[in-house]
Point group: C2
Chain length 210, copies 2
């Protein structure tokens, strides 16, 4: 199986959602002084390529450590979205019905990750509308992934997609990136979160295998 990395690189310059805490990587030990290298890092649970647990938004939603580990791996379908789409609608998804019946994850590839590191990344990125998400939730999915910072429109204040997806017990993966070399749309997806207690979310190393 050939593996592709769908994750953004993290460092002290990694952009974070407006208002969120920044990342902080510090040298904790050096070969010259200590005989080994070690790094201390600090970040918010929804940093970089990351996963939202149902507990991120829902009072009684499950945390990631309450979900079985096979929640985080499975068959996946990448749905390429036309470059100038502002909204992903149900009509656009209908032709994927047959493929959707066979997978655990849907990953939306809008190409927006090319703006990662620029202010535009956080402006007017494309997302599915509520009807599209509700239709998707008829399938037997474990999670839905996005190569944008949020499953909901930036201007949304009610977060309908978050509430719909997490409310069904699925996980959300945000800030994915798709390498140019990855041209296949069907494969295996791995997105294992850090195993911490009461995890409302976690950065993940998202990987696609073909």
């Amino acid at each position: 199986m050939k593996l592709y990395d769908l994750s953004h690189l993290l460092n002290n310059e990694t952009p974070v959602f407006p208002g969120m805490g920044k990342l902080r990587f510090q040298t904790a030990a050096t070969i010259e002084k200590d005989g080994y290298r070690e790094t201390r890092f600090e970040m918010d649970s929804h940093t970089g390529t990351h996963m939202d647990a149902p507990a991120h938004m829902l009072k009684n939603g499950k945390t990631l450590d309450q979900l079985p580990v096979d929640t985080f791996a499975g068959k996946a379908l990448i749905i390429p979205v036309p470059e100038n789409a502002e909204l992903i609608e149900k009509e656009f998804l209908l032709p994927f019905e047959k493929q959707l019946k066979e997978v655990d994850f849907v990953l939306f590839k809008t190409g927006w990750s090319k703006f990662w590191g620029t202010p535009r990344y956080f402006e007017n990125f494309p997302t599915p509308d509520s009807e599209a998400i509700e239709w998707l939730l008829n399938f037997s999915l474990k999670g839905i992934g996005f190569d944008v910072v949020s499953a909901d429109l930036l201007k949304s204040i009610t977060y309908p997609n978050h509430f719909n997806i997490l409310g069904k017990g699925l996980v959300i993966i945000e800030n994915l990136r798709f390498p140019d070399a990855l041209t296949e749309t069907q494969g295996r997806f791995f997105c294992f979160p850090l195993p911490y207690e009461n995890a409302d979310g976690s950065p993940v190393r998202a990987v696609f295998g073909v």
Copy 2:
């Protein structure tokens, strides 16, 4: 494929190698106040179930972000070590020769993880001797995993196993745990590190698939 979690749960009480920085999980946002949950966390790169990069000990060793993502997944053999063994010797490994030719990872299961959370976890845990490691390095491996805190004896000050393994470009996985329900010894192993820059190591969600 049935997946088993080989990782210890992280929280503010997670034991760390003597002298290392402690973990710190803090609430960053709550549903009551902010409408969503978020956690800020802080830890050293070699915390909990984690991976050592060649750069952890070697001046010119590669960091995890310099290694292709398929370094972190592959076929694995679990080698169960008799409960009272103090040292893992080459003679003990010889019968596994045929199986070792077919895998990418060797994972030593000594059962020591039952002492996790107690002072004994850091005392006189079993490790392979140099001859055993040198023999293992004749095979075509990506990494070697341990259910103890270090690939080297606690009292070691020269870290021969670290230098031998990392010097060959392999990764080391430490602080694994093997669930009782996992009785198979051959399967797939996944240990994707966080994608951060100049990564000398990283906590991982280690997973075994049968």
